[in-house]
């Protein structure tokens, strides 16, 4: 009964305004994935693997070529359309264009519950908006904070299973880059805004004063 399984999502994608991949994760059971790649590497070893014929019409879950073809077709259908939801290739696709990137959530089948998919989709988007304070969701921001974006998606979907759909909850679980030795960096102040920077500076000043005393 696939209808009752909890893995309802088959992919999460971020494409840029030319349809190029920024982030793409196609979900499948981790063990199916492992055995697929094992078989692939073995057939490569034995020299029986003919890459082109095998990957052209391969499984969307694994084959890079099939995935790219899927993405390009999807992009053509959705770019500048602003309709947020469509049925594509037997998947329900939710998408949202945010400045120069487009976020996609691809369902496993046509029968998934659209509202729940929307909740997962919104959760990821909300979390991104919360964590990527500066400028929100756009191409350069995503590229600069690729670790954070990847972690957000990872915290929201675990191999097809919606793990968490509340933006703030996802955001609370995301770590930022480690601070080595020097805790104050320009970057840090920028991220926190002027008020945050003021508060931070005040604390730091108080600390040093106390230490000196």
């Amino acid at each position: 009964m696939s209808g009752l399984s909890v893995d309802t999502i088959s992919a999460y994608l971020i494409l840029d305004n030319k349809g190029e991949r920024i982030y793409a994760n196609y979900y499948s059971n981790p063990f199916a994935k492992t055995s697929y790649y094992q078989a692939l590497s073995e057939s490569k070893k034995n020299g029986t693997h003919t890459e082109d014929t095998k990957e052209e019409n391969g499984d969307l879950k694994f084959s890079y070529k099939t995935q790219r073809a899927f993405e390009q077709k999807l992009f053509k259908k959705t770019h500048k359309q602003n309709s947020d939801i469509l049925i594509f290739d037997n998947h329900i696709v939710l998408y949202k264009e945010c400045s120069d990137v487009c976020l996609y959530l691809v369902s496993k089948s046509q029968d998934e519950n659209e509202v729940l998919l929307q909740m997962s989709f919104d959760g990821i988007k909300d979390a991104m908006e919360l964590v990527l304070e500066n400028g929100g969701i756009d191409k350069s921001n995503i590229k600069d904070n690729y670790d954070i974006v990847s972690l957000i998606i990872d915290e929201a979907i675990d191999d097809g299973v919606p793990l968490e759909c509340e933006g703030a909850t996802i955001a609370s679980r995301i770590t930022t880059a480690p601070n080595v030795e020097a805790p104050i960096t320009i970057n840090n102040i920028k991220e926190k805004g002027l008020l945050g920077a003021w508060g931070f500076a005040k604390n730091k000043l108080a600390e040093t004063l106390q230490q000196n005393l």
């Binding site: 909890v6 492992t34 490569k44 519950n113 659209e114 968490e164």
Partner: protein, 770 residues
């Protein structure tokens, strides 16, 4: 590694990242910030370029060097990224088990922000032989007070189900506790980095995950599932995902056993309504779901009710769906209209009563997917009264071609019902809109349907023709032009003979203005009006610059000369001969196929093709699963035993009679199907099948399959079995030997599976039909 992969690598910075990873992760002491940056770059490559960017060896060494980072304690920021990359790499890397100990150590560690990540990564490095070792850890995490740790552990169990269901079964009690428990978040301060603080709000997702796993564990136990539905009703479930899963579970139970809702009768047979008090529980649950103000739940109930046709709730469901049509959330509107579209044909009455009005407002919805669905839904359920206004309402101008085509397709099914309205609409669409070739062709197709219909539609048909004449004056697509010219030639003289001069004028204009392809088509079209066009054709024959056009003109002229004098009566003759021709095309095609295969034209007799194919035999199509049986022509056996004079057949039939009790049991041989190749020529066994139809008297027919099996292997195989029976049909098959096997229809038992169990290996051929 091929040269191609090297080239691909030179483009990116994969190798730089690879080298950097190996050196930086092995440094001591490590620099967490640098490492996390590098991990991010590595992850980006894996995600955007596919996991096959690095080969197995490279992945393994990457995996190994990353696992060194586990030595660096107390830096959650780095650790979280390590887990992310390890999760991705574990499916391509070998020896992933080496990281197990480090990950397990993290899982055993006190609760922290990275514990869920550790749990989720743990399953990726396990396999079916080591999964049991995680049992204790998963158990302790499942009962954790922190919802994200519990969720991570339950989801991990879910992933482990296919390879270690026994282990997960032992966790079922702990998992079920999670359905009830409402766990709230603990906010951890991660070590090693500054984070802005967000306040997590628990939506109790672990309920959903736990319910999902519990279902998977109990899915074959109906009573268990029923208990599950009752035990965890909406008073327990707070999470929307879990509630939807619960509704699905109810739907699943009803689908498996419809008697669950019949007890109190959803068909009230005596006409007496069952009082709401003793209403069936499952109906009550679903009714509750419909009233509950949670869109996801309402939507799921609607799907279930309409799919399972639970008549009692259909009205309520339609009310709910109609309320959905006006909500601002696009996905909800979309979902509702998608359901309505799917079931429009099943419940036209309900649809008309409660929803049509709302649908009409959706025709102009900003989301084109929704408006298209709305239009097609309305068209499906529409009747004469509203179709007129509906079609007038369709604002098709600002829609993309894809949607126009969908709309045309749905109009096509209605053309026979409302030819006038629709053809008017289509003609406008054809003339006033830009559009792709496909779009225009679709419209012409639709209009041809109108022209073809037998009914007398007054002036509609001639209007269509006249409009088509107008349209070809400025049509840019050659394909569409050629099609319309054909249509004009075909239907012009038939429907509107008095106005022939009009058509001739329009068609002749094309001859003067268009390219040679269009001119050729125009010549043929002109020849359909022989009374008027003889002279025109003569001129074309003499003057056109294109060979094909001149040839065609010459052919049609000579044909006209052969037949009687060009009068109107010749039209009917032509019509008849055309019909004759079209019927014979299939025969001609099959004859030509034989010719192409055999290269032997001597047997090609033109008079023979005028006999239509015996449809009975033609239907004995041997479609073998995916493999196309090569057509061996129609080897038509005559109904008497004349063909069996053939020595080979006689022998075969003797064998069949011998095996199945002779002519007294089987009756007479009626028909032999052509020999079909079921396998392709490269497989280990080449199998042909042939059907022999025996008939006792008028009623009893027996089909005997004759499988010819040829061994192409270079060694002999023994004990071949065909079908599901255990009998050995062929005890020994030498290389390149060919053997006949006979099986009756009963012996195959409708299982079109040919099992070749040769000693030591088994080969199964499955066929969809024989």
């Amino acid at each position: 590694m091929s040269a191609k992969t090297y080239k691909a690598r030179a483009e990116g910075d994969q190798m730089t990242v690879y080298q950097d990873c190996l050196t930086t992760f092995n440094e001591s002491p490590i620099n967490p910030k640098k490492c996390r940056k590098l991990l991010t770059r590595l992850y980006k490559i894996l995600i955007t370029k596919g996991l096959t960017t690095f080969n197995t060896m490279e992945c393994t060494s990457l995996f190994f060097s990353i696992s060194k980072l586990f030595q660096h304690q107390n830096n959650d920021s780095l650790r979280q990224m390590v887990y992310l990359v390890i999760k991705e790499l574990s499916s391509v890397s070998e020896d992933t088990l080496m990281a197990t100990a480090s990950i397990m150590k993290d899982v055993q560690h006190v609760d922290s922000i990275i514990k869920p990540n550790a749990v989720r990564t743990l399953t990726r490095v396990l396999d079916s032989s080591t999964a049991f070792s995680a049992e204790r850890l998963l158990k302790s995490c499942t009962i954790s007070k922190d919802p994200s740790i519990a969720s991570a552990s339950i989801v991990s169990s879910y992933h482990l189900l296919p390879i270690a269901d026994q282990t997960i079964k032992r966790l079922s009690n702990e998992t079920m506790e999670n359905i009830e428990a409402l766990k709230s978040f603990v906010n951890y301060q991660p070590s090693g980095c500054e984070v802005p603080v967000f306040y997590p709000q628990s939506k109790y997702m672990s309920q959903y995950h736990a319910l999902g796993v519990t279902y998977q564990l109990k899915k074959n136990d109906k009573i268990g599932l029923m208990k599950l539905v009752h035990q965890y009703d909406p008073s327990v479930l707070k999470n929307q995902f879990a509630l939807v899963e619960w509704c699905k579970l109810i739907g699943h139970l009803i689908e498996r056993d419809p008697s669950l809702i019949e007890e109190n009768g959803h068909y009230s047979q005596n006409g007496a309504k069952p009082s709401s008090d003793n209403e069936n529980e499952y109906i009550k649950f679903l009714r509750w779901g419909c009233y509950k103000k949670i869109e996801a739940v309402q939507l799921e109930v609607c799907k279930i009710v309409l799919k399972l046709r639970i008549v009692k709730l259909v009205d309520l469901v339609f009310q709910t769906l109609s309320s959905f049509l006006s909500v601002p959330r696009t996905s909800t509107r979309f979902a509702a209209i998608k359901i309505l579209n799917q079931y429009a044909a099943v419940y036209p009455g309900n649809l008309k009563a409660s929803i049509n009005g709302d649908l009409e407002t959706l025709i102009n919805d900003s989301n084109k997917n929704i408006s298209t669905y709305a239009i097609t839904t309305l068209l499906r359920s529409g009747d004469a009264s509203n179709i007129q206004s509906l079609i007038n309402n369709i604002q098709i101008n600002d829609v993309s071609d894809d949607f126009k085509i969908i709309i045309i397709d749905s109009l096509k099914s209605l053309v026979s019902k409302f030819p006038e309205t629709i053809s008017k609409f289509l003609v406008d669409l054809l003339k006033n809109n830009d559009g792709s070739v496909i779009f225009k062709t679709k419209i012409v197709d639709c209009l041809v349907d109108v022209l073809q219909s037998e009914e007398n539609l007054g002036t509609t048909k001639t209007e269509i023709l006249e409009n088509l004449c107008d349209f070809i004056e400025d049509c840019e697509y050659t394909e569409v032009l050629v099609r319309i010219l054909y249509v004009l030639g075909e239907y012009g003289p038939k429907l509107d003979f008095e106005n022939s001069s009009l058509y001739v004028r329009h068609i002749y204009n094309r001859v003067n203005l268009e390219n040679s392809i269009v001119r050729s088509a125009a010549v043929i079209a002109l020849s359909k009006f022989p009374v008027f066009t003889k002279n025109l054709l003569e001129t074309i024959k003499a003057n056109d610059i294109d060979d094909e056009v001149r040839d065609r003109a010459a052919i049609v002229l000579s044909r006209a000369a052969q037949t009687s004098t060009p009068t109107a009566s010749s039209l009917s003759i032509k019509k008849k001969s055309h019909q004759q021709l079209s019927r014979d095309i299939r025969v001609l095609e099959s004859k030509l196929n034989i010719y192409i295969q055999n290269g032997d034209f001597s047997t090609f007799e033109l008079p023979a093709i005028s006999e239509p194919v015996d449809s009975g035999n033609a239907d004995v199509d041997m479609v073998s699963g995916g493999l196309e049986g090569s057509a061996h022509g129609s080897h038509e056996p005559s109904s008497n035993s004349a063909t069996t004079n053939d020595e080979e057949y006689k022998e075969i039939i003797d064998t069949i009679y011998h095996k199945y009790g002779g002519a007294s049991v089987l009756g007479k041989l009626v028909s032999i199907s052509p020999l079909q190749e079921l396998t392709d020529s490269s497989s280990e066994f080449i199998i042909y099948a042939q059907k022999y139809l025996f008939q006792q008297d008028s009623s009893e027919k027996t089909i005997i399959f004759n499988f010819k099996v040829e061994n192409t292997l270079d060694f002999a195989v023994q004990n071949l079995k065909i079908g599901s029976s255990d009998d050995v049909q062929i005890s020994n098959l030498e290389p390149n030997e060919r053997t006949d096997v006979f099986l009756s229809e009963q012996e195959l038992q409708d299982e079109y599976v040919l099992r070749f169990i040769a000693d030591g290996f088994e080969e199964i051929f499955e066929f969809n039909s024989l």
